[in-house]
Structures are given as C-alpha cells and as structure tokens.
C-alpha cells in the first residue's frame, strides 16, 4: 500500500493547480508612465477604488515627473478592461511629482477621497461621488509638508469619527550629508477634536514618528489580535545604514511608542520596499511579506519566542517565497522587489503572493531583467513561482500595483505601475488550459457612524474545516492602496459562512452565502444582499 501511495505521489504533476492566464490589455486606455529623476526611482503607485458609485474599481495612477492620472473603469462585466481618462482635480503643478495614491473616505460623506503622496506637498483630495475631486488640505487643516513622501497608512482608532493618517517619508535632501543617513521623520496625524457631526476633520497637529529611517511602506496591523493595531514600517537601509524596520504601538489617546528589543522586537535591516499582510494560517495573527533587494521576507510570529511580544521568524526560505532572483531569463543577480500583495489569483482558496520587481534604475549588482513574480500558494503551505507561465514576466521595472477584479468576473486582475515604461494592465482570463478558475466570493462591508468602509475589519469565511481570513486595510504595498470589494477564492466550496469582526472588535453573526456572488454585508442587518453587475454592453471577452 505504501509503495502504491509513493508511486501515486510521484505521478502527481509538480504544479497541478490552475495557473491564471494574465492577458496584457494593450488597449485598456491607460497610457500612464511613471518616470523622472532620482526622486522617482522609488514610488510609482496606484489606487484602485470606486469613485463614482458603480462598484467598478476605478484607478488613480502616479506619474512621478509626469502628471498623475485618474481613470474611470468602463469595462464590461467579464469583458476586456477599458478605462477612460478624466481630470484628477489637481492643477498642473500639484499633479506632478506624485509618488503614490491611497483611497479612503476621510470625511465620512460616503464618497471615497484620495490621499496623494508627493515629492513635496502631500494632498488630500475630497471626492464628490462622481469621480470629481477637489483639494481639501485647507478644509481639513492638513499641511501636507514638503517632504518626499513614499508611504502611507490609515486607520480609525477606537471611537474615532475620522481616520488617523500616517505618512512615511524618504530622504531629507536638505539635511547636511544628504542622502546618507538623512532620512526624514514620518508623521502621524490624528483628527483633533474629533467631531462625528463634522465633515471637516482637523489634521493640524502632526506627531513626528522619529527617528525616520527612509520608509517605503507602512501598514496599520493588528499583529497580536489585540484589537489595537500597531503601525508597521519597512525602511530602506540604502540611505540609513543604521536604520531598521519599525513597529509603533499606537495606543488610543496616547502618544505612539516604538517597540524595542525589550518588547521582543528584533532588528530587521533590509532594503524594505513593500509590505503585505495575510493571516495564512487563520490564527488571528497575520503573517507579513516584506520585499527587499534580494530575499523577500515572510515573517510569522515566532512560536518559540520567550515573550508574547512582536518576535518574528522568517519562513520565506522554507515556504519557497524568497523570490530572490529573477525566475526567468539569464540574469542571476539578485532581484529588487517592490509592491507585494497576497491575493488568490486562481481561486483555489489558497493565497498567492504577487511581487512587483525591477531594478532601481541601473544598479549593477542587481538584476537588470527582473520580471514580476507570482507565487502560487500550494496545499503544502509552500509557494511555487508561475510568473512566466501566467504571462506577467515582462521586461519592465515594476513598482506599485493594484490587484482587483476590474471587470467583475470573480477573477483578480492586475495593474502594474512601471518606472520608465507604460503601466501594464493584465486581465485574468482564467485557467491556462480551457476553463474557469475555482469558485469565488466578493464581499463589500459597510457600517454607519464613520468609517463606512469598515477599514480595519476582519472577514472570516468558513468553508468546510478551513477558514479564509481577509483584513480590510488602507496602507502597505508600495505607494499603492485599494478599497472596495474583498475577494476570496473558494476552490470547490459552493457555500461559506462569513463572519465579520468589525473595526471596534464586535463580531457579526454568521452570514450564509453562496459562492460566485457579490455580497453586501451591512452591519446589523440580518442577512446579506446580493449584488449583480450591470449587463455587458457586448459579449464577454471569454
């Protein structure tokens, strides 16, 4: 029997899971290029969010020295990806030198606003619900500063009507000795006199997150399942040789404080570029992918640590997730990783890991041909590289990215912002062989009383004996944020029981939902509502 079993194992293909066929859409209507001098070697982000209420994800894309662009999604359900460029609402001066975007509803008016990261004055743009935006720095008492901003995250602290904003900054070029060792501090902005009845939050009192170590990504994350998220920052050691990644405790009503060695926080000194979180083992304590030059880190809380502090162990090598060299082509120098995002691209109910890659510009010690990576999650908890087979291994310098279902067919598409090259738009056309991918579920959360999009909520979907976890967050990646539908691949499961842990910690009752549907979960409602995309104006593309 055992011999037969061994034989059976040997006959199983190494990669039996579906490889998503990512088709580059060359006529998507997006013609943006992120470019410019040294200041734009980093950054290059995009925001995927619905700015006009049709539940299709629209896009804002940074341009660096080129003007940032806003694109309305005109895709038909299941069809080719089509976007229409519209004015962003920034004048020529402010629309340039943009490094990234994050979407969120800052003033609780039900319309998504935009946080614009810039090399120079950051901007907050107030959305009108019809993809029109107006600068709101003055309205919201937001200074914007003069720093070179490259990271952002937001959360609603307990009881708050408006979000707390965190900005991460890069090199302070005006400091003596710049650029070496002259990283600019980040800032944390809590709404002052937070008034739930006011649509004008007051961000006039910044708190300096000092020392800054040249942040390139940050994320509010509930690392210990305490209900009180901390701020995780990954920093670029390139310009701060003594720097390291940081984790800030953000106790409500008190000043932030960094976790230290005494708390169990161990030094992590990398060229930190991007952060992604996912609770891979559904234990309530997320794991983190952190991109760098060379090895990507895959951090999990160290079960053998002597304290219950934030002591992490690196699983990347054991799980096959280092992605440290180009997976195709002849260049064997180390990779440079940027945007990272966990998502289920093949709907098999296992999380995959996408990493945008590309040389900073022409760094000789690192790979010049460094295509993006798609690591498919496997049933043995390892990851398998399929970037080339999936069709995303292009010769471009990836930076930020947006992973979203742009044509509402249940399969995640991908938009990559490239430095010096046009944005690439990939439509997920399903299984590489003929046929569809696994089952899926799309969830949209809403609640009243501020934080309508339930930022910070946790979605816990039970299929059989497995639990799929997702967290609604604004932050992380590389200068790129997303808000809207939360996607879950469900494999062969036809049904799921979904519970929501709302941002204030309250758990919902279980909602019973059927796969291959869009479901709206409104806090307090006894059942979900199903949602259906508008009918296609033409036949589906596949």
């Amino acid at each position: 029997m055992r011999a037969l079993a061994l034989l059976a194992l040997l006959t199983v293909p190494a990669q039996a899971a579906d490889i998503p066929r990512m088709v580059e859409e060359t006529a998507s209507g997006i013609d943006q290029i992120y470019g410019g001098p040294w200041e734009f070697f980093v950054g290059g982000g995009a925001a995927a969010f619905d700015c006009n209420g049709d539940r299709l994800p629209d896009l804002a894309v940074a341009g660096g020295a080129n003007p940032a662009r806003l694109y309305i999604n005109r895709s038909d359900p299941g069809g080719a990806l089509r976007f229409e460029a519209v004015p962003l609402g920034l004048d020529d001066r402010l629309s340039t030198r943009v490094t990234g975007f994050y979407p969120l509803d800052i003033d609780d008016d039900g319309h998504r606003d935009l946080v614009v990261l810039r090399e120079g004055r950051n901007m907050l743009l107030r959305g009108d619900g019809a993809c029109g935006f107006t600068p709101a720095n003055t309205r919201w008492s937001f200074d914007g500063g003069r720093a070179w901003t490259t990271a952002f995250a937001a959360q609603w602290e307990r009881g708050a009507a408006h979000p707390t904003l965190a900005f991460g900054n890069y090199v302070d070029r005006s400091a003596p000795g710049s650029p070496w060792g002259t990283c600019e501090d980040g800032v944390l902005l809590r709404p002052q006199g937070d008034d739930a009845d006011s649509d004008a939050p007051d961000y006039s009192d910044p708190f300096a997150l000092t020392p800054g170590h040249c942040a390139l990504s940050m994320l509010f994350t509930d690392w210990n399942n305490s209900g009180e998220p901390s701020l995780r920052i990954t920093n670029d050691r390139q310009y701060h040789l003594e720097g390291e990644d940081q984790l800030w405790r953000i106790p409500p009503t008190r000043a932030p404080r960094r976790y230290t060695r005494g708390d169990g926080w161990a030094r992590l000194k990398i060229w930190g570029m991007g952060i992604a979180e996912a609770d891979l083992d559904a234990d309530g304590r997320p794991e983190y992918a952190i991109t760098s030059m060379g090895d990507t880190k895959l951090q999990a809380l160290d079960a053998e640590a002597e304290t219950d502090g934030p002591t992490y162990t690196d699983l990347a090598y054991a799980r096959g997730a280092t992605a440290h060299r180009p997976h195709t082509g002849g260049d064997h120098r180390p990779s440079t990783g940027w945007h990272a995002e966990f998502a289920d691209f093949n709907n098999d109910a296992l999380l995959d890991l996408y990493i945008a890659k590309g040389n900073v510009e022409a760094m000789p010690a690192f790979a010049a041909f460094d295509p993006d990576t798609l690591l498919l999650g496997s049933w043995d908890d390892t990851f398998v590289e399929v970037g080339e087979a999936a069709g995303i291994a292009l010769d471009r310098k990836g930076r930020g990215a947006a992973v979203a279902d742009f044509n509402l067919d249940g399969a995640l598409d991908l938009v990559v912002v490239n430095r010096g090259d046009p944005v690439t738009v990939f439509r997920n056309a399903g299984r590489s062989e003929a046929g569809r991918l696994g089952n899926w579920l799309m969830v949209e959360l809403s609640q009243g009383g501020g934080n309508r999009d339930a930022i910070g909520a946790r979605i816990s979907a039970r299929i059989g004996n497995r639990t799929l976890e997702r967290r609604v967050a604004v932050g992380g990646g590389h200068a790129s944020g997303r808000i809207g539908w939360v996607h879950l691949g469900m494999g062969v499961a036809e049904r799921a029981r979904v519970r929501v842990r709302w941002p204030d910690g309250d758990w919902s009752h279980p909602y019973e939902v059927f796969a291959n549907n869009f479901v709206l979960i409104e806090r307090g409602e006894p059942s979900v509502r199903y949602w259906y995309p508008p009918e296609a104006s033409a036949g589906p593309a596949r």
Binding site: M490, A493, F514
Partner: protein
C-alpha cells in the same frame, strides 16, 4: 460478471479503455483504467451508457480505490484527523460497494428499503460517528433515480427562468432608478418575491423554496444538489470512497491520491460522464392502468380528490419541459464538478424515451413531465404534525424541517416513504404532512374512508414501470 465479455469486446471494438480493458478477465476491479472525458466523448452513446451502468452496479474494490482512509465524506475535500480504523463503516461510510447496493427497487436505479438508509453528515468537524443519534447525522431513505435526467432538465429551465426574472427586475430598477418588486415564478411554481434596487443589489429575504442564488437544486431529499454529475461525485466519495479526479484530484487538493488509499485518480471525468449519462437515461416512471375496473374507477376519482384536497399544489402532476436534450456538463455546476465551458458538451436527446413512455405534450409542444412534484422546498412539519420534522441538523443552509417536495412518480414501487423511510404505507405518510402540506393532509384525513381510499388507489398506479 456477466457483463465482462461484452465490455471486453467493447474495448476491442472501439479501442477505448472500458472496464478491464487492460485487466485479466478475472480481475476484481470494476473501474479498470479510469476513462478520460475525451475517451468518453468518443464512445457511442450506448457504450457510454453501458459503462455507466457497469460502474453503477459494480461493487468497487480496494483495487479500484474503494475506501478513503484519510478523507472524510465531505463534498469539499477534507482530511481525516487520523486514519480510519475500518474500510467500511455503516454509518459515516464508506457504507456501500455499489450505487445499486441501495438504488435497486424495483430495479437498478431504483429506491431502497429501510435497510438501505444512509446517514448524511457534512463530514467536517464531526465526520466520524458510530451512532444513529440524530445530532450527528440525518438518516435518509434512498430515492429512486428513474426520470432523473428529466428532473434535472426541468430544474435547469426553472433556474434559467428565475435568473431571467431577476435580470429583468434589475434592468428595470436601474433604468427607472427605483426599486422593483417581482414575484418569482417558474413553470407556474411560485418562489416568493424579490426586490431589485437601482444600485444593482437585490433583497432575497422573501425568496421561498429555492436558494438565494435562485439555482433550483433538484436532487437529494433536501434539494441541495444541482446535477446528477454533482450528486454522483458526492455519493461516490461518501458511500464508496471512490474519489472523482475533477473534485478530489491534484487540481483542487494538490494530491492525486487524496484519500491515501494507494490509488490515484480513481474516477476519471469520463467515468463520471458515463455514470451521469446512465442515470439521465433511466426511463421515466410511467403510471400503469390497472386491470381491475374497480381500481380504475377508484384511481380516476382519486386523481380528482388529489386535486381538491390540495395535494397537487406541491405534488404537481406534471411540469412542462421545453427541451429534452440533456447536456453534460450542465450549466449551473460550480468548480469541483465539471462545468459547461470546461469541456465540450455531450448531448443526449431524451425525447425518444418520452415518446416511448407515452408522455404527452401540451399545445406548445412542451413535454408534460409527470413527476408529481414542484422542485421546490417546503417546510413540512408544524407544531401539531411534526413527524416529518424529525431531523436535528440543517443541511447546506436548509433548515431541518424543510425538504424538497418528493416526486411521486414511481411511488407505488418505492416504499417505505418519508425522507427517513419511516412510513410503510401511503396513508401514513400523507397523514404525516405538516407545515406546507398540512391543509391537504387535513383535507385527506377528514375525508371519508372511501375518498381516502380513492387517493391511495390513484397513487398506487404511479409505478416505475407498468
């Protein structure tokens, strides 16, 4: 055993690995080489059906992969926590060597006596049980499968109708920028109401008798299985430990031998196709005409009383079928069951069987399928009449006392009755109807004995085959 020479000949003629094609004639295996979908499509229909029948009646052996020492009975591939101690387990399964071990009255594909009851469990957290305590499983009788292809076709058409109604309501709500309420109705069966909102969302709180996705799932006593194909895959794993590649294979589990019994890829896509086709082609039950003139007269009166008592409100004597071509795979299955656009379809025209059975057509040319059902779920117990509400476990989001209307065609040959086979007479099971069946039940129970006898006389004509 008798089929082997014919099947071996089949293999020789068509060069297709039918049963035992590469096996000695004395092989104890049933499946032989699993059949791929492509191989199945190359087979003549009668050969494919014959292979399906052989798989249906053959008692699978460990050589075929019978048993699932490290997998549960769940429809989602689920590992056991520890290896099963026994290859057979009458309660949590595997509990049968062949489909026909239970589906055998009055013939292959038929129903089962009480002895053939199955113990249905989701197979997740409490997959291993050795008690009939209803907190661990729902005990169910074995339904017959005659006419099952027609049942699935009716369900597909009803689903298409409901989806079209939802689509039209959404279109109107969006166009008019106002909510639109619609009464859901398919083949004149009402499924409650639905409200479409201008933003594209729908309220499903008032939908009745069908899942919120408006897919009519006609199979199982509970009405929770979409297709014969899906049912076959589920049952093969649960009852035999025979795992279909399209659900339990490497694509969805990472392992060819998911149940760790030493046999990989136990049932190919072609095998499931063959089993599906065999079941879909099982003849529709046909009511018999008694020789006894008194019985004829009583049955005629009984047919009228069946209507006036209200039985026919749910046990619809016939539902109209537009198109009798059975396509496999079907249009509404989800991942884990071969789907319509994954493989080219196999079409089986069941019209000839309908003509042969003398099934009537209406003025529009639609086949009037005499199933005596509505393919809708109903609550079938209430506070006073609760005998059919004797389960504790909801199944796939369907409450414990809610069941699909049992189709009555063939009822004369398929006692005992009720979802657990609790009732050995038709009179008893009629009296057990509560809930949605209460009014009809009361009308029956309050009627004179002769009138009740007429109804029984009528139902006793609903045989599997005259």
């Amino acid at each position: 055993m008798q089929r082997r020479p014919a099947l071996a000949l089949l293999a020789l003629i068509f060069g297709i690995p039918a049963l035992h094609a590469a096996e000695p004639v004395w092989s104890e295996r049933v499946v032989g080489t699993p059949l791929s979908r492509a191989e199945a499509l190359e087979l003549p229909l009668h050969s494919l059906r014959e292979r399906g029948e052989a798989l249906f009646v053959g008692k699978f052996t460990t050589g075929d992969g019978r048993g699932r020492p490290m997998a549960t009975q769940a429809i989602i591939p689920t590992k056991r926590r520890r290896e099963a101690q026994e290859g057979w387990q009458r309660l949590s399964g595997p509990d049968a060597g062949a489909c026909a071990s239970c589906h055998n009255e009055p013939g292959v594909g038929g129903a089962g006596d009480f002895a053939a009851n199955a113990f249905v469990s989701e197979g997740f957290s409490s997959h291993d049980f050795d008690t009939t305590d209803p907190q661990f499983s729902n005990e169910r009788g074995t339904n017959h499968l005659f006419g099952a292809g027609l049942i699935e076709l009716l369900a597909r058409e009803m689903t298409a109708t409901l989806h079209a109604q939802r689509r039209e309501a959404l279109r109107a709500a969006r166009a008019g920028n106002a909510p639109v309420d619609i009464a859901l109705r398919a083949k004149d069966v009402a499924f409650g109401t639905l409200t479409a909102h201008p933003d594209g969302s729908v309220d499903i709180g008032a939908v009745e008798g069908v899942d919120p996705d408006l897919v009519v799932r006609p199979f199982s006593q509970k009405g929770v299985m979409t297709s014969l194909r899906q049912f076959t895959i589920n049952a093969a794993n649960a009852h035999h430990g025979m795992q279909a590649t399209e659900r339990y294979g490497a694509r969805w589990t990472g392992a060819g031998d998911y149940d760790e019994d030493g046999v990989a890829d136990e049932l190919g896509e072609g095998d499931i196709t063959a089993l599906t086709v065999f079941q879909a082609m099982l003849p529709a039950p046909v009511a018999m005409t008694p020789e006894n003139p008194d019985w004829i007269a009583a049955a005629r009166r009984g047919a009228a009383r069946f209507e006036t008592f209200g039985c026919a409100a749910c046990h619809r004597p016939a539902l109209p079928l537009e198109n009798a071509v059975f396509a496999d795979p079907g249009p509404y299955d989800m991942a884990g069951t071969l789907r319509g656009d994954e493989r080219s379809a196999l079409s089986v025209d069941l019209a000839a069987y309908l003509r042969e059975a003398g099934v009537e057509r209406d003025d529009s040319g639609r086949w009037l399928i005499p199933l005596f059902g509505d393919l809708k779920r109903h609550r079938i117990a209430d506070a006073q009449v609760a005998a059919l509400g004797n389960e504790l476990l909801a199944q796939r989001f369907v409450a414990a006392d809610v069941f699909m209307t049992g189709e009555l065609w063939g009822v004369a040959d398929t006692a005992p009755y009720g979802h657990r086979g609790d009732f050995d007479t038709l009179d008893a099971v009629i009296r057990a109807h509560g809930g949605a069946g209460r009014q009809a039940r009361d009308a029956y129970a309050d009627a004179p004995e002769a009138a009740r006898g007429d109804v029984i006389a009528y139902l006793r004509t609903l045989t599997v085959a005259p």
